[in-house]
Subunit: 208 residues, 2 copies
């Protein structure tokens, strides 16, 4: 027996697809320069429908970014936490990351948060909080992963977890910035590999 839908005219949009299309627009232009008309075209939804479905422009961004984060976090966490070897985990994580940053168009679009809302973060408190939260999440993940490696004996007991995590976060911020500036994927990959190797060297990682 097919499930009966609720009353009312059926939706012509798919929430996930619409949010995905919206985020691509935001990534193409940056937050402010993406208009409701851009979003309307991309989602094939009229502006009032966008408002009814998702709320204001800012709400649309926040929901789209959250969906993207939710979709990609598993991919990234698998790379970071499922591999017992720290060097391999980091290489895999950053390879995944630069692939994400290079997705979407014929030229890289960078990070859906760092590359899209950085300009607006100071003047708009909600956007600023979103940027700060994104940075904090990344920091927390790297701290967690470095702590796990130290506890597994792959790093010295005296390892300064925060300092090493800061280096890895810096690499992530840099890759996003470079992707946004047009750096090609192979170059991003080279930078990631070299920097991971140097960071591990500095941290005193045990050879595998």
């Amino acid at each position: 027996m097919t499930e009966k839908s609720a009353r009312g005219r059926p939706r012509q949009y798919d929430v996930r697809a619409a949010l995905g299309a919206a985020l691509l627009e935001f990534r193409r232009r940056g937050y402010t320069a993406t208009s409701l008309d851009h979003l309307s075209e991309a989602t094939k939804m009229a502006r009032p429908s966008l408002y009814a479905a998702f709320g204001s422009k800012r709400d649309i961004y926040l929901r789209a970014a959250a969906q993207f984060a939710g979709d990609s976090v598993e991919r990234r966490d698998r790379a970071l936490f499922d591999e017992p070897s720290l060097p391999k985990a980091l290489d895999s994580y950053f390879a995944t990351l630069v692939a994400i940053y290079s997705e979407g168009d014929e030229r890289p679009l960078g990070c859906p948060v760092l590359s899209v809302i950085t300009g607006e973060a100071t003047a708009d408190p909600v956007i600023g909080a979103e940027l700060a939260a994104a940075l904090s999440r990344t920091d927390a993940r790297f701290c967690q992963r470095i702590a796990a490696a130290r506890d597994a004996g792959q790093l010295p007991p005296s390892t300064d977890i925060d300092a090493v995590a800061d280096m890895l976060a810096a690499l992530q911020h840099s890759l996003a910035q470079r992707a946004r500036a047009g750096t090609a994927l192979p170059e991003l990959e080279r930078i990631a590999r070299n920097s991971v190797a140097l960071t591990l060297k500095a941290a005193g990682a045990r050879e595998p």
Copy 2:
């Protein structure tokens, strides 16, 4: 004998001061969200006057950013190149940098380029080129400084100049991003000190 001015009504604005005020507005809001009205108020110049003096909104940004870069490059180069000891040079350079990133308002505004135009870089080719050029200039400076340190015997002859420079550039990108997200100066300083120390350790720097 006082110098006679040219014909015409005397200017009521100072070019340097106007461009400085304009850049502060751009740093406060990001590029697109800064309107001609914002710039007009900040510079105390009417919009037609802004056009006559500096050109379009984009021209204003580019000129203001160039003036800022010109003013701060000496400060930064002095820190980086005048100090023979690489660790001291880098510490001094990044201390200068985070001070710059924290200047301007009661909360840090980050980098006048990386923190302001990143969102617009993909859709506007001129802005994109400006972002890419800023990244390239930073890369070139770090490469030059690391090569000088290797040639002075402070780093091993086999040092991978590019890889080390990439790490330092990553730190700079990260500090800009963190400043923009509201990170306080003491925290930026801590991250910079720790990251410089780890980078030098990875590079095999000689103890002073």
